[in-house]
Amino acid sequence: MPEDSEKEVGETKEQRTKTYGSDPSNQESPSKQGSEAILRMADMDPNLKYELSKIPGAEKLLLCLQCGTCTGDCPVSSRVPEFSPRTIAKMAALGMKDALFTGDLLWLCAQCYTCYEECPEDVKPSEIISALRKMAVKEGHIHPAYKSQMELIGTLGRLYDVSEIQNEMRAELGLPPVPDSGVNEVKKIMKRTGLDKLTQIDLSKEG
């Protein structure tokens, strides 16, 4: 009897797990995950929404109506379908921590604040994404491009190294050499706040 009823619903629990449960390809696209895969409560972190709501800016997460104004106006969503502020807010409310924290999803936000201004419930989707990034970073998931940005700022005091050639080109336009960046002070600040350990960057090299 139990075997028959399993067959009636089409696939066994084992088959389901085999097809969707541990296949990493299903983790790549949240929209695909939403429509085709089965979300299991056991994989969710019900505390994510509470922790997230404590971070300044993300307090109104649970007021999201899923209206989609944010995604409709998002310059990234229209080119990258898997990036959707609406879906990210839903994933956060559901506690889909792994799908949110791994990969580049959170880091695709351009932080243009269009959704921040347009959201009818003042949920501030861009701030929710920013808060999620902070949580991801604390768990060791920082996007490599942002990690190297932090390392550049910590070792050069700015995003670029200034060469003699650049100062010569500036001189031709009547510009003074690029001022000192105060890198030693920046480095001390980052060590004091622990940004180097948080983002696993090496501040020992000289700029």
């Binding site: 080119r79 269009t114 990034r133 996007h143 491009a145 001022p179 920046v186 706040t193």
Partner: protein, 286 residues
């Protein structure tokens, strides 16, 4: 009027033409810009999404340098403006945050006191110099030049923090452009982001966003005007790397204002622009 000039990272290294034209324009309108020795990166808008405390301290250190100079800050970059302005207002209002940041800053011999303002070039020109005074300096106005103004994001958003212009229908930078006699034309999705922050994450996305805007602009305007080094680079580079280059000149705001005030293309380092902007001269009346 005297200001501490916050150069940021990208302008002095990659867009010396923006810096040179800003300095020339400042001279022309009677504003003294003083270099900030020891000021570095503002922290970037993304540092706030990595660690709040560090972002606040890095921004505050730069503000302290201006406080020590006794001058308000002028930034050339929308990103720097958002970061420094946000940190400045937050630290002025929140005594606990100020105390926390000052403990960190004590190690590098700075103290945030909350004595200066942070302005973007556009904000400084409009609020401190004034449109009427600027208008009086126009000697060679444009006639019939259609300009697509790109205000960018971090000059106007988040609006509850920055409190400058309307976040969805901005008009102040357009008013500034129109003192030159040029027409700031409406075009679709005018406030759309240039896409620049996504460049480091997926390099093909930002050029798509930027190029689509330039292609829309081409139907309505002769040139595009920006007031941010990141937006400028996106609109210029996305055209130069496109299969078919739309060839819409991108011009820094101080270059356009400077030309109208009688400065030469050389004064304004217009040879640095990678899409030849000289066709603008055809629209000058005198």
């Amino acid at each position: 009027m005297k200001y501490a000039l916050f150069l940021g990272c990208t302008t002095p290294v990659r867009l010396a033409g923006y810096e040179a034209s800003t300095r020339k324009l400042a001279e022309t309108v009677g504003v003294e810009l003083v270099d900030m020795q020891g000021a570095g990166c503002c922290g970037t808008p993304s540092m706030e999404s990595i660690d709040h405390k560090t972002a606040l301290a890095v921004a505050a250190r730069n503000i302290c340098i201006a406080e020590e100079m006794g001058m308000d800050i002028v930034t050339l970059c929308n990103g720097c403006y958002e970061v420094l302005s946000k940190a400045n207002d937050f630290l002025k209002q929140d005594a606990d945050a100020r105390e926390g940041v000052n403990k960190i800053l004590a190690e590098v011999n700075h103290q945030f006191k909350g004595t200066v303002k942070v302005k973007h070039l556009v904000k400084m020109l409009i609020e401190d110099v004034g449109l009427e005074n600027l208008q009086k300096l126009v000697k060679k106005p444009f006639d019939g030049l259609r300009v697509a103004v790109h205000t960018g994001c971090h000059l106007i958003r988040p609006s509850d923090v920055l409190k400058f212009d309307d976040p969805i229908r901005p008009e102040l930078m357009e008013k500034l452009v129109e003192i030159t006699g040029a027409q700031a034309v409406p075009y679709p999705d005018k406030t759309e982001c240039c896409g620049s922050p996504t460049l480091a994450v997926r390099e093909n996305v930002a050029p798509q966003i930027a190029l689509a805007k330039v292609q829309r602009v081409k139907r309505y305007a002769d040139i595009m005007v920006t007031s941010c080094p990141f937006c400028y680079l996106m609109y210029e580079m996305s055209q130069l790397t496109a299969e078919e280059n739309p060839n819409v000149p991108v011009v820094h705001l101080p270059q356009l204002l400077g030309l109208a005030m009688g400065l030469s293309q050389d004064d304004l380092a217009m040879g640095e622009n990678r899409i030849d902007p000289s066709r603008i001269m055809d629209f000058q009346t005198k």
